[in-house]
């Protein structure tokens, strides 16, 4: 087959998904309905206050903050796959870069909303900008997350420019306004050497600078906890502990996305078993690093069992949170590592299940970091009703926690519908290089 024919096949394969079809509409209808239901829960919270949640004076941070940490964590994957693997010249990751970037952008953008959902006075959000105090880690967090969202957008958009031109050229069945949007966004891309060089250099610069920013967003997020003197949070390794945990969550998210895109968009030739194999190996690597940090985080205070640490750790190891703690550690971390060592487990379907277990584990891990500490302050919790001492999330709260997931899925679905999920231009280039 000649190069031209092959390039045409690649283009038509990768652009096939860009059209309205029934399954897309059904899926969006489902997401829209779920959004309305969860949106109503948030309306209730706006009307009645945070009293609709299970939060009270002692456990004043709960699911929403866990959710925020999880969203920031998952968004770090864009940096790992596109920047770190890209800069180190690992070729197999290239087709997955856009999936990782879309996930990164969606989770980072929605993380900002998650934190607003936790606010008692969302109407005063602008106070953070008008009266922001540089001493507060919240202000650092807002700054770096904003920077990361902007950089992730550019990181997604700039390598996309050639593909947008391809979309304009090839998708002639689309209505003119849609094609014109592609044309407008492709910024007069002609494919000249100069332009190609410009994109290459810009992408490289962003790839380099997004690494410290990505580290910053999750390190600062960990400092929201580590900068207090509460048991379980008062830890010097929280920064790297969170960052490595983030890679685990993000890698799992990409694996799940890979599976569905491959299946729904019929991309078996582009996202191959080889890619799943490699992603499985990557997941083992990041999970092992995270396991190492977990060992440090729990074993060191666990060995000493200082009075207040002991209260906290006992609740995790043998107490009220033990079931959740051990499930998260074993089903969400240790078992996946062991399974993924075996090659048959790194096939697409087993990887889907393992990735899902890891991602669910990653969410509950954040819960385990946030809630038990709040239940164990230095001074006893007394003279208050039982629900002040033990946190139990309400249905409304759970719905509001699900809300941002729906938004993320909508963003990912829409983005994956309007842009090719595998970089077309790069795939053709790669193919030409190989021949």
């Amino acid at each position: 087959m000649s190069d031209q024919l092959k390039a045409d096949k690649i283009t038509s394969d990768l652009l096939r998904s860009i059209r309205l079809n029934k399954s897309f509409l059904v899926w969006m209808g489902f997401l829209g309905t779920a959004l309305l239901i969860c949106g109503y829960a948030y309306f209730l919270q706006l009307r009645d206050g945070l009293v609709v949640t299970g939060l009270r004076d002692y456990v004043s941070w709960g699911m929403y903050i866990s959710n925020f940490v999880f969203f920031v964590a998952t968004s770090l994957i864009g940096m790992l796959i596109s920047a770190v693997l890209g800069l180190t010249g690992i070729k197999w990751a290239a087709p997955l870069a856009r999936i990782a970037e879309i996930i990164a952008l969606a989770f980072a953008a929605i993380a900002g909303l998650v934190i607003i959902m936790d606010m008692g006075r969302p109407d005063r959000l602008l106070n953070v900008i008008i009266h922001g105090r540089i001493q507060s880690p919240i202000v650092w967090d807002i700054t770096v997350v904003t920077v990361y969202i902007i950089m992730s957008t550019l990181f997604l958009y700039i390598p996309l420019i050639p593909d947008l031109k391809i979309c304009y050229d090839k998708l002639d069945k689309l209505p003119p306004f849609a094609r014109n949007i592609y044309k407008l966004l492709s910024l007069n891309w002609t494919g000249s050497g100069e332009q190609a060089n410009l994109i290459k250099q810009t992408t490289r610069v962003i790839a380099i600078f997004i690494i410290p920013v990505a580290f910053a967003i999750h390190t600062v997020t960990s400092w929201l906890f580590a900068n207090t003197s509460r048991v379980g949070w008062d830890s010097t390794i929280f920064g790297p502990y969170f960052v490595t945990g983030a890679f685990v969550a993000g890698t799992a998210a990409v694996i799940i996305a890979m599976y569905f895109f491959r299946k729904n968009y019929k991309l078996q030739d582009y996202i191959t078993d080889f890619h799943f194999d490699k992603m499985g190996q990557l997941l083992v690597l990041v999970s092992l690093v995270y396991l190492y940090f977990n060992l440090n985080e729990y074993m060191v205070p666990g060995y000493k069992m200082k009075k207040f640490d002991a209260m906290h750790l006992n609740s995790l190891f043998v107490g009220a949170h033990a079931l959740l703690f051990w499930s998260v550690q074993i089903l969400g971390l240790v078992l996946p590592i062991i399974l993924l060592i075996f090659k048959p487990m790194r096939k697409p379907l087993p990887m889907l299940f393992i990735g899902t277990a890891v991602l669910i584990g990653a969410w509950f891990k954040r819960y385990i970091i946030v809630v038990p500490t709040m239940e164990h302050p230095y001074l006893p919790i007394q003279n208050v009703p039982l629900n002040f001492k033990v946190y139990s999330p309400t249905l409304t709260e759970i719905s509001i926690t699900i809300l941002p997931f729906i938004l993320v899925l909508i963003i990912i679905t829409v983005l994956a519908k309007v842009i090719p999920i595998i970089p077309v231009h790069e795939t053709i280039e790669q193919h030409e290089e190989n021949n």
Partner: protein, 319 residues
């Protein structure tokens, strides 16, 4: 590449100019910092010091509190009450002393406090805790207000300057500013802060009542609240609500600068330092470096009964 390596390590003109630039900017910065430092010292004039009367009728000139050096921007459109509440009382450094040997868990302090600040029965600015350190040591009652730390973790983490430290040592909250992020609640090691999860119950007298930072009334939904050292009463020269309500002589309140504290029950005034010295005064969790302004006298020689039920509750926190 090899050609470059063989080159003698001589700086190009461009590199030299670059270095020069860095050194230049660096020295200008360092110079201006030193200049600003010297100027700052020079500017310390008499108005940076204030006079206070000590308990033994002796006039003492002291340096103004650190709080007063923090420039509070005036253009923020604060109401009179907000601005006054943020400024605090000049020349004062309020302290509280709680004598644990006297506390019988009468809870008059809690009631008085809840009435004054319009709190529901589950909300506590002041909470009398049943405490026990180890299995062998006896249990005791410990009233716990906000510690009004001199190094307050809550103030450090507040993203919007809603909670602040005043020059008289009191830590307050401006609930017109608070965004309800509850970072301060997470940061406080003394669990001193509470949150208005629902719309607070508003009394009739609150109608048309302007918001008073020093009383934190009316309470507002979605904002944080906490013990205020009764800043409104203190401004009038009175003792805090809890201090005056106590029937057992547990509380002393006064001014560290004057070295005088007054017992709320007996109205007797003592020298603050001497009271601590004679009774082995201490602060809660000094290892955290928060420097509380609330001091405790140990539960030594207490002669009141400690209920069995309370003993059980105290023992729960032994771990």
């Amino acid at each position: 590449m090899s050609e470059k390596e063989q080159k003698p390590k001589k700086k190009s003109r461009r590199e030299f100019l670059q270095d020069l630039g860095i050194i230049g900017v660096g020295s200008v910065l360092a110079g201006s910092a030193i200049f600003a430092g010297i100027n700052y010292d020079k500017r310390k004039r008499p108005f940076d010091r204030s006079r206070v009367l000590k308990a033994e009728n002796e006039l003492l000139e002291i340096e103004r509190a650190d709080g007063s050096k923090v420039v509070i921007p005036k253009e923020q459109n604060f109401t009179y009450l907000q601005q006054r509440g943020r400024d605090g009382l000049e020349g004062k450094r309020f302290v509280m002393v709680i004598d644990l040997s006297k506390c019988r868990n009468a809870r008059k302090c809690m009631n008085a406090c809840n009435n004054a600040h319009h709190l529901s029965e589950d909300q506590h600015h002041m909470n009398v805790l049943k405490m026990q350190e180890t299995k062998e040591t006896p249990a005791y009652y410990m009233p716990k207000p906000c510690q009004h730390c001199d190094n307050p973790p809550c103030v450090a983490v507040c993203p919007v300057d809603a909670t602040f430290k005043r020059q008289d040592g009191i830590v307050l909250i401006d609930n017109e500013r608070c965004i309800g992020c509850r970072f301060c609640i997470a940061a406080c090691p003394y669990s001193a802060r509470i949150f208005n999860w629902a719309e607070p119950i508003h009394t009739l007298e609150e109608e048309n009542m302007p918001y008073n930072v020093e009383l934190n009334v009316p309470q507002k939904k979605g904002t944080v609240s906490k013990c205020l050292f009764s800043a409104d009463r203190v401004r009038e020269g009175k003792l805090p609500y809890c201090v005056s309500a106590c029937p057992n002589g547990v509380y002393y309140f006064g001014d560290e600068n004057e070295d005088a504290v007054t017992n709320g029950t007996t109205k007797e005034t003592f020298r603050f330092k001497k009271l601590l010295e004679d009774n082995g005064g201490y602060t809660l969790m000094p290892e955290l470096g928060t420097h509380p302004r609330v001091y405790y006298l140990p539960p030594k020689g207490k002669d009141y009964p400690f209920h069995d039920k309370d003993k059980e509750e105290a023992a729960e926190h032994l771990g």
